[in-house]
Structure formats: C-alpha cells, structure tokens
Amino acid sequence: MAAQMSDAHRRFLQVLMSHGIMEGAEARKLHRCCCEISKAYYAQDKLDDFVSTINNQLQPLFMQIRKGMSEVDGRTHYALVNMAETEITKMASDYAENELELFRKTMDLIILSENGFASSTDILNSADQLKTKKMKKKEAEQVLKIFVDDKWLSERNGEYTLHTRCIMEMEQYILSTYPDIAKKCNICHSLAIQSQACETCGTGMHLPCVGKYFKTQSRPRCPQCNDFWPYEIPDRSRIDSQSSSRRVSRRELQSL
C-alpha cells in the first residue's frame, strides 16, 4: 500500500529538514517540485500519502513529519519533529547548559502566563538567577535571538511565545511536565499556549478555533457553561478554512 521511498521523498525531506517547519501551501509546492525534479509520479493533493511514505522510514529513527496548526493564523504547518525522548534533547546537543536552562525558564514563564507570552524583561531577569552559569543581559538577549532564529521561540513586540514548531515538537513534553497548568483547546484538544478562556468556567480555546467555532453563532456563548463569551472573536477571513488537521465536525458542534 505504501509507496516506495524515492529521490523525490528524500529531496522533500532534505528541504523540510533545513527549514524545520513549513506552511501547508509551501509544503504542497515542494511536493510538486520534488516530484517534477525526480520525474516521479506526482499525485496532486496526496501530500499526506507522500508524507506517510517518508514517515514509515523515519519511524525507526524516532522522527516524524507532523502536521499541526499555527496558533496565530490557524494555518496548517508541517514540521520534522523528534519523538525520541520526552526531554528537550534535540535541542540539548546544540546548546550550552545555561542556554537550555534559560529556555526552560522562558518556557515556564510562557506557560504560566495568562496570554501565552513572556516579557523580555522577565526573561532577562531570570537570566541573572541561572543555577548553571549566570548570563549577562546582553548575552541572554543574543541567546533569545538564536532561539527565535532556530524557531523554538517567536517574538512579538518584545514578548516571547513558543514557535509553532516548538509546540508541535514538545506538545507531549509540555503536557506531561506541566500537567495542571498547560491548557488544552476545547475544540481541537491540542495544547494551547495562546488561548481565550471563559472567565466563568476556564474553558479555553485557540484563537483560530474560536474564530471557526463561533462562525455560526451570532451571540457567542461558552461551549461548556453557556455564559456569554467575553472576547472579540478573531477575524474569520484571516483563518484558512482548510487549516486545522482536526476539523470540527457538524455533530461535534451540535453536541457542544
């Protein structure tokens, strides 16, 4: 049933690996390019099958091309993730002890925060208290830039959150390390770093999921406790309707 691994697959994997993460549209384009270059059979819209073939080979290596949703725009992304250990081991081979400690502290701040963001001030202050080896503010700033370049963190207006790639790779780790604090989206049941949460019952949802869920409702109400949803609903037109890998079915919507 599964196709054979070919140069088209290998080329796709090499490019995806160097990017780390790719948007769905980009990945589909790459799929077509790789098949054309290798003169392999190109099955349009069968990117997921193509990826499965690669994943069969990656599985014994504890790696996987995973599909996930960006918390920002709801678009599907493909990322090559490491599934070997539950710790931050893929990063571990590349960063110094104190850099890893800074990352863990940043992750703590992000997950404990209301909005899923940690201010650079807070992060830099924690750099001063590292147990492994203290870091000066300037050095910490550069380390943060490296984390952004390497797509573990995302920066917006001087605040940091986890990059989509990081969330996709570390979802299991985060859920098991922060069992009571890490939030899950009520709609798609994935980890939610940035979310809107009901003030009454605490039910949380990704912003793109909120946009999709309330698309059919004129007076948004919490799916759990039915209280009025107090927030602005994210602009639906910005959300890719093809995005989420976990589509909310009509039945699911009606049962909520």
């Binding site: 080329r11 270059i37 081979s93 110094a96 850099e99």
Partner: protein
C-alpha cells in the same frame, strides 16, 4: 536554506534585492552536549579483524545496536544542520561510547540509513583528524526551494567570495577580497546591516563551516592571509557552477574566460 546546495545564480538574485534588517551575528558558546565522565581515550578506534567484529556484534543485542545507530544518525543530522563538521572523536565520545568495539558496524549502518532515508552521505574532509560533513547524494538541480532569510544572504555573500577566488586563479589575498567586497558596500571594519560583523562571518564562521580556507602568508607584517575554497565548498558546488554564475552576472559566455573555462570543464 536550500536543500544542500549553493545555487549560485538564484541566491545572487535575492541577495541583490532588498535585505531585511537582521539582528547581529550570533555569539555561539560551546554546546556541551551529552555529559559523561569516563577517561577512555576516544581518539583511537580499535583495529579488529572482521571475525573479531563479528564476535563483538554477536555479544550485543540487535536492539542495542539499532539504538546506537539511531543515536548516531540523529547526532550527525543535528550537527550537520548547523553546518558544524563532525569529528570522529566526538562521535566516539558522545554516541558510540562503550560500543567502541562495534564502531565500524554502527557507522556503516548509520551511513546506509542516511542514504536510504535522507539521500545523504558522510564525507571525510580531513583524513588526518577524521572530520566529516554530510553531503547530498541526490542529483544536483538549479533553482531548488529556497528560504528567504539570513542564510540565503550569507550564502550569497559566500558565493561572491568563492567566485572572486576562483576567477583569481583559486587563491586570493585578503586585501584583494576585501577591496572587492568594498564595492558591494561590505566593509570588514563596519557593522553590516544584514551580516553584522562581516569579518567574523567570513574569517571565522565560513572557515569553521569549511566553506573557506584562510591561511596566513608567512613573513608578512602586518599579517596577510590567503583565501581559498574550503573542502565543503568543493563538495557543495563546482567550478562549472561558479563560472556560469559569474558569466550570468557579467552577461558573457563562460568560455570568455579561457583558462577558468578549461579548468571548470576538466573538473567535472
């Protein structure tokens, strides 16, 4: 960045376009990686007869060996993504460890996996110190999917330097290179909008990644340096590609430069 190549012409096109304002260079502290405390000498690989290797293999379970192969593959990939050449010493110390006696088997299987799954191979670029890089075994192609970012810009700069070196007869003095780059508004003394500390990028990062080889010219005061292609440049691009890039830029035929043309032809 692009798969594994230096697609000269395309990178130059983007490099020449508007650069995004990028933050300054990275200061890398040494990654400590996995920690272990044994005192074994990891610079030496035991030489063994095939039958001895076979016996050693049989004393280890398939599962144990597979695990080591997987660890080695991951180790190689992570290092290579950062374009850090991989030392055999590190492979032994950080991955192989107590499985030294079946080192060759683990490396061979890792090599097969790299080829089968990723289309990559280990290439030794320093036979004395046993240092490796990964290169692609897939057929080269122009115009591969490129990520528009600092990596692309850096590669653009690199290609320009490689071209200059090649056209100068495979070796150029640092003063000539900087003079040439000055015309592109890249100065070693000034902080560059995109590259930051250009001198550091060219003389340290590109050298560490084995794209350039920069050697001091003896008996020069102030010290002068000789620029040549590094072993990774030779593996990831070719004289033919670089010459056709130069030709495109100058809107001439590659054969216009007779000696470089012949050299490029002989090189393929």
């Amino acid at each position: 960045m692009a798969g594994r190549r230096l697609p000269a012409a395309e990178i130059w096109g983007r490099f020449n376009g508007c650069w995004r304002h990028w933050m300054s260079q990275r200061k890398r502290s040494r990654g400590s990686g996995l920690t272990q405390g044994d005192d074994e000498d990891f610079s030496v690989v035991p030489t063994q007869s095939p039958s001895q290797v076979q016996r050693n293999l049989e004393s280890r379970s398939q599962e144990e060996i597979n695990r080591k192969v997987t660890e080695l593959v991951q180790f190689l990939l992570v290092k290579d993504q950062k374009k850090i050449p991989i030392k055999r010493v590190d492979i032994l110390k950080k991955v192989i460890r107590e499985y030294k006696d079946v080192y060759s088997e683990i490396v061979n299987r890792a090599g097969r996996t790299l080829q089968q799954v990723f289309g990559l191979q280990m290439v030794e670029i320093d036979t004395k110190h046993h240092i490796y890089i990964l290169t692609s075994t897939l057929p080269r192609v122009e115009g591969e999917n490129l990520k528009q970012d600092i990596q692309t810009a850096k590669l653009g700069l690199l290609i320009v330097i490689l071209s200059f070196i090649f056209m100068k007869g495979n070796s150029a003095k640092d003063s000539a290179v900087w003079e040439f780059l000055r015309r592109l508004r890249v100065h070693p003394g000034e902080k560059h909008e995109v590259f930051g500390d250009v001198k550091k990028l060219v003389m340290e990062e590109f050298v560490r990644q084995k794209y350039l080889e920069i050697t001091p010219i003896p008996l020069t005061d102030p010290p002068e340096f000789n620029f040549q292609w590094g072993p990774r440049a030779a593996k990831e691009t070719s004289k033919k590609d670089i010459l056709s890039f130069v030709a495109k830029m100058q809107k001439k035929e590659p054969s216009f430069w007779i000696s470089q043309y012949n050299e490029a032809k002989a090189n393929t």
